[in-house]
Structures are given as C-alpha cells and as structure tokens.
C-alpha cells in the first residue's frame, strides 16, 4: 500500500467537498486526511487529500476525481519535490513535577506552548507529518488530554503548477 498526497484544484462552489467525499465513499477509496483551503484565486479551492492504495487504486482515484465537472486539475505530489506541512494542537496533563520535562521536549521539537494552567498545557507544532508523529510518540510518556491534527496541506517546490485561470 502506497500513501499518496493528491492536490486537487476545484471550483469554489458550495457542495464541491460533498461531491469529492461522495465519490470516495461510493468507490470505496480510503481517505487518511483531507484539507480544504483557499487559493490566490477566489473561484478556486485546493483540496489536499492523503490516500492509501496500490498503484491501480491511486490511478482510479485520480481518473475518477478528474471526471467530476468541478475538478479543474488533480495531480499526485512527488514527495521529493513537494512541501508537506501539518499543524498539531495537543493538550497534555502537566503540573510542577513534569512541566519542565515537557517543555524540554517541546523546545527540541520547536513546539510552542500556547496555553498553560495548573493542571495542563497546550502546545502547537507545525511540521512534516513524520515530525508530528515523532513528537506525539514522545508525548505518550505523558498524559495526552486532547489533541487535534489538521491533516496535510501541501505545495510543490519551484514554479507555479500548470494553469490557474
């Protein structure tokens, strides 16, 4: 099973996300994560989808999604030529006995402490998914109270990709 990051440029219409999600549901494609974001063109949105599947399934996902009327463009991002980022918010139980130990880990990972109270702290970390995974592994030694990951958002390096009209 490969993991593939797909970048999808779609018309910024209401219901377009439902349409993409419905297609994935109907065809039994698995979504690891999905983010929708604005682009520099107000008529177009970008959907970044992380999917799993063998080569044949990825090919089907790309072709089926491309058939949607509101799809302007879909392409798989080459990991060697792309930037993947994810944002994590994690709330960890922390008191005076372990607060500094947690802060030390946060410093190493360049995570920001954005909230603090007597019993807990909230940290923010941006980075590649691997880095987030590894940070969360470290946090398993403590008590994670709540967390939220945004899923991957991604762009290719270098020049603008294709048509954007």
């Amino acid at each position: 099973m490969n993991k593939e990051v797909l970048s999808l440029l779609v018309d910024n219409h209401s219901g377009v996300l439902t349409r993409v999600a419905s297609l994935f549901g109907r065809r039994g494609f698995n979504i690891d994560s999905l983010t929708v974001s604005a682009t520099d063109n107000p008529a177009i949105s970008r959907i970044t989808i992380v999917v799993q599947g063998d080569e044949q399934i990825i090919e089907q996902i790309v072709k089926q999604t491309d058939k949607l009327e509101e799809t302007r463009e879909i392409f798989a991002l080459d990991p060697n030529r792309s930037l993947f980022r994810e944002l994590l918010l994690v709330k960890v139980a922390a008191d005076e006995t372990n607060r500094s130990a947690i802060r030390e880990v946060a410093t190493i990972y360049k995570a920001k402490i954005i909230d603090l109270c007597m019993e807990s702290m909230v940290m923010e970390l941006t980075g590649e998914p691997d880095k987030i995974d590894s940070f969360l592994d470290m946090m398993k030694g403590y008590q994670i109270l709540e967390m939220c990951r945004t899923g991957i958002t991604a762009l290719e390096r270098g020049e603008a990709h294709h048509s954007f009209n």
Binding site: G15, T18, R19, S22, L23, G25, R26, Q56, E59, Q60, K63, Q64, D66, K67, L68, E69, E70
Partner: protein, 554 residues
C-alpha cells in the same frame, strides 16, 4: 427580453431541440407546467402514472434516438421517484436531463412540505447536478446540463429549481445550442503500435459494448472486422450494432453468452475491447479473463482503462474517431485457422430445442421477431426474458434493443417502451418483452400508453415465478425457493382490459402467432400473456466469478 424562470425553462428546451418531455406535475413545478401549457404546440408533455415511469420513458427516448431525454418532476416524492430511473441511465451512460422543482429558497433547509435534498441524493448517480439559486443563472445552467449529458461519456444530469426561481424574472437572450466536438488526441506512435499488434495477431477478437452505439461507430467497426477478418462478440449494451447473421458476429459474451464467445476470448492472443467496461457480468473473473491475450482497450472514458482488468495498450477518445484513424494502418488479413477453430466450437454450442406442445421462450421471441419485422424496436425488463430476448431476437438494428444492462432495473421496460414509441412514432412497432415479475412492478404505465394511443405490444413470459432468481436457487441453493413463487392470481387479460388496453392469453405457438398478428393491427397498447414452464432456464450460464471452464449447459 424579460421572462419568468418558467418561461426561460421552456425557451431553453425549445433552443435545445426538445419536442417531447416526460413528467408528472406537482406543487413545486406549477409555474413550469403553466409555461408548458403555453408551449403545447412546440413541446409535447407526456404525463405518466408515476415519476419512475417518466424517468424510464426519458431514458427509452434517449436510447432510441441518441438525443437527450428530458424528465420533469416535482419536489420531494416526485424527485425521489426519479432516483431508480436516473441510476439506470447513469449505469448505461444514457444522456438525460432530469429537472426537479423544489420548495422556495426561503423554505429550503427547514424540512418544509415536500422538501428533499435531491442534489445530495443523486450526487453519486449523475454526471453532475445543479441547484439553481438565482433566476439569472437558470438559462446557462440548463444549457450546461444538456451539454454535459450528451458529450464525452454520456449520462444523466439533474437540475433542481426552487419554486420562487420559476416565478422570478430575468433577461433572456436566446442562444444556439453548443455541442463541443470531442477532440481525440492520439499519439501517432501509439496508434501505429496498436495497429502492429492487431496486424500480427493470430487469434484476434473484438469485444465491444455500448460505447460503439453511443459513438454511432457501427460502420467503422464492421470495416475493421471485415478488413482484417476479426470475429466479434458483444455485451448486452451493444446488441443490434452488428446484424444477427453476419459471419463475424459471434454473439453475446459473458454470464449468459455463448460457449463459443467465451472460449474465443479465453483463447485469443489479442483482445480489442471497444467502448466497453469489463463489467462483472462479462469479465466474470478478472484474474482469468482473456488471460492469454494482449488486451487493447478503446474508450472515451480514461477512468475505464485498468479499472477492472489490467490493460496492455489503450487508446482514449471517441470510438468512431479512433477506429477511423486506426483503419488505414490495419492490413487486409485472414485468420483461416482461427475461424475454423471458432466454427468447430460453434457447432458444439448450446441450442434450445423447439417444442410445439408448449410455449418455448426462444420460439415466442423468434415468432414475434418474424411478425414485427426488421423495423421494430425491442424493449425488455430484467430477468430471464431479457436474456432470452438478447439471445434470440434475430434482426436488430442499432438503437432498437433497449434494456437496462448495468443497473438491471426490473420495471424499466414499460416506461422505456413509452419513450421509444414517442421517439419512433406509431408506424414502427415497439415490442416489449417482460416477465410476470418485472411487469408487476410498473404495469401501471399501461394507462399512459392508453392515454397517448401508443400501440406498444407487451409480450409477458409468464412462468408465475421470479424466474432468474429461482434459476439461481435451483442451481446454487438446493431448490430452496425462498420468496420466488408468489402464487399470484393476476388475470393479465382482465387487467389489460381494465386499463383500456387489449389483452390476449396464449398457451401454444399458434395462439401466440394469431394474437401477435392481431396486436400489430391495433392502434393502442396490447398485452399478450404467454404461459411458459417455470423450470425453463437461461442457458448456457457461467456462474459469477467463474470462467469458461465452469460453463453450464443444463
């Protein structure tokens, strides 16, 4: 000029060349119907008994003509009743525009009376759908719907129009319909390579489907077959593209195809798949299908390449266009040994035996064909009778065998027959074959055929059971006939008469022949009930997931 949304709707229909539409009125579409009332001289509206029948009628109209079929229904239940018809058209790539009314925009999202989110419901069964939010966009949305339905791989499009939009006014400027020419971009090297493979084949076969019909590419196909002496087999969606008696036409492929066609695909060294999608009723086992062959696929839809079966070479684009471009590169050829081999297999094929003591399905269908003539349009429901019709109708022309292939919709037939008769006019016979199971689902549409004087001839193969399901129970479920024998007491002659149609009951071939001859003279709908044995099977059969080695001849 300033028009209401409802007037814009009718103007766009006229613009798009729509002269017939099928539908059923209701609260949310009152304005649209009011506008249609004023356009009666330009557009005929056929009111059915049920919206499902209207959807199948629009579908049948489209299949018989290649034009886009149009269906209109009100909000809520009117819209949901279209769903089976839209899904049927979607699975068989039939161009259709479905228009639904909805509650006014201020009432949307409030669970108002007869409100349903039909755009959400039909998302997975349409090529695309629209909810019109402003009267200013109505005309272009409708035009876009017609364009999407009938370009590329065809299919249904739904336009949902809230009631206030049909009353609101906007400026309307008439436009000529645009049918963008589908451009096939082929790499000449790839095309040449495919031609080399075809030219070098020892045991080639063409396996083709509905895409050849949709592309109107029958002549190009025939030229290819004859030039290179390549035999051909087809899916049920392509019945009628080649003539019944043509030497290179081997017949139906797949679960209920001939033994020869399935053997030929299994033994071929090159399979050329044209306008077809390797469905599980044809490529029953994707691992073993055409195992010995280099597979070439020609299709307009890139997502069909490698979907079910791994393809060696593909040409994506309009089938007619590709075949025309391929032809000059194809060498004149013969495959004498291969054809001889095929003829040997054909001699061993399953053939049903005539029996004059009772009604046999193949004799009923054969006789109906002889009497109806070469111009007839045949429509089926779904089940055993459908397979028999596909196998035993002798002479078919393109667009004259209308059947629900992909979705397998029981109850498709009568609506589709209404659409077909409206499309071809009353001078061409429309003959519907159905079973007692399928017919019970939507026979209510007989009232429509009576209202509009449509001389549809319905041949009901009555075995009193759900024959196809029962056949599986006989073969795979130890004859445990769970819910396939409903013990119905329907008197079809009386029901026909009750609707104002004519009915006949036949128990032997002579009676059937007489009834059919009389039916051809009628100006309104006729039902002919044929009593057949409930143990009659569709043969041969390859079980689901099997291959030609598993073929059953009894």
């Amino acid at each position: 000029m300033i028009l209401t949304g409802a007037e814009i709707f009718t103007e766009v229909l006229v613009e798009q060349g729509v002269d017939v539409l099928f539908g059923y009125p209701g609260g949310a579409v009152l304005n649209l119907y009011d506008a249609l009332y004023a356009y009666q001289d330009k557009i005929t509206h056929v009111m059915t008994a049920h919206e499902q029948g209207a959807a199948h009628a629009a579908d049948g109209y489209a299949r018989a003509t290649g034009k886009t079929g149009v269906v209109l229904a009100t909000s809520g239940p009117g819209a949901t009743n279209l769903v089976t018809g839209i899904a049927t058209a979607y699975m068989d790539s039939v161009p259709m525009v479905a228009i639904t009314g909805n509650v006014g925009t201020s009432l949307i999202g409030r669970d108002s009376f007869q409100e349903v989110y039909i755009a959400g419901i039909t998302m997975p069964i349409t090529k695309h759908n629209f909810v019109v939010r402003h009267v200013e966009e109505l005309a272009d949305v409708l035009r876009e719907a017609f364009r999407i339905a009938n370009t590329g791989r065809k299919g249904p499009v739904l336009v949902d129009i809230p009631k206030d939009i049909t009353a609101a006014k906007a400026n309307f400027v008439s436009k000529q319909p645009i049918f963008p020419v589908y451009e096939t971009k082929l790499d000449p090297a790839e095309l040449a390579h495919v031609a080399t493979i075809i030219n070098g084949a020892q045991r080639p076969i063409v396996y083709f489907g509905g895409g050849v019909m949709a592309s109107e590419a029958g002549e190009e196909l025939r030229t290819l077959l004859e030039k290179a002496e390549i035999p051909a087999t087809y899916t049920i969606m392509a019945a009628g593209v080649l003539g019944y008696g043509e030497a290179l036409n081997l017949g139906l492929l797949g679960m209920h195809g001939n033994s020869t066609t399935n053997r030929a695909v299994a033994e071929a060294d090159v399979v050329i798949a044209i306008g077809t999608r390797f469905s599980d009723r044809v490529a029953l086992n994707t691992e073993t299908f055409a195992k010995k062959a280099t597979i070439i696929q020609i299709d307009i839809d890139p997502s069909e390449i490698n979907k079910n079966v791994e393809i060696d070479f593909s040409l994506v684009g309009d089938v007619k266009d590709i075949l025309a471009k391929l032809m000059p590169l194809i060498q004149k050829n013969t495959h004498t040994d291969w054809m001889e081999c095929i003829h040997t297999w054909q001699a061993q094929d399953y053939r049903p035996k005539d029996d004059d003591s009772r009604l046999m399905p193949h004799q009923i269908i054969g006789t109906a064909c002889e009497l109806a003539g070469e111009d007839a349009v045949y429509v089926t429901d779904v089940g055993q009778h459908q397979m028999w019709a596909a196998k035993f109708i002798h002479h078919l022309k393109p667009r004259s065998f209308l059947t629900s292939g992909g979705l397998g919709t029981m109850g498709f037939g009568y609506g589709a027959a209404i659409g077909a008769q409206m499309a071809v006019g009353n001078n061409r016979p429309v003959v519907m074959f159905t079973g007692d199971g399928s017919f019970h689902m939507n026979l209510n549409e007989a009232c429509t055929a009576v209202s509009y004087n449509l001389p549809i001839i319905t041949v009901i193969l009555n075995n009193t059971v759900l024959g196809m399901v029962r056949q599986w129970q006989t073969t795979f479920y130890g004859k445990r006939y769970s819910s396939t024998d409903p013990h119905r007491k329907t008197n079809f002659v009386k029901v026909a008469e009750g609707f104002g149609a004519k009915g006949y009951h036949c128990e032997n071939l002579a009676e059937f022949k007489a009834a059919f001859e009389q039916a051809l003279q009628q100006t309104g709908p006729v039902w002919i009930e044929c009593v057949i044995d409930k143990d009659e099977k569709v043969l041969p059969m390859i079980p689901a997931g099997g291959s030609v080695e598993n073929i059953m001849m009894s």
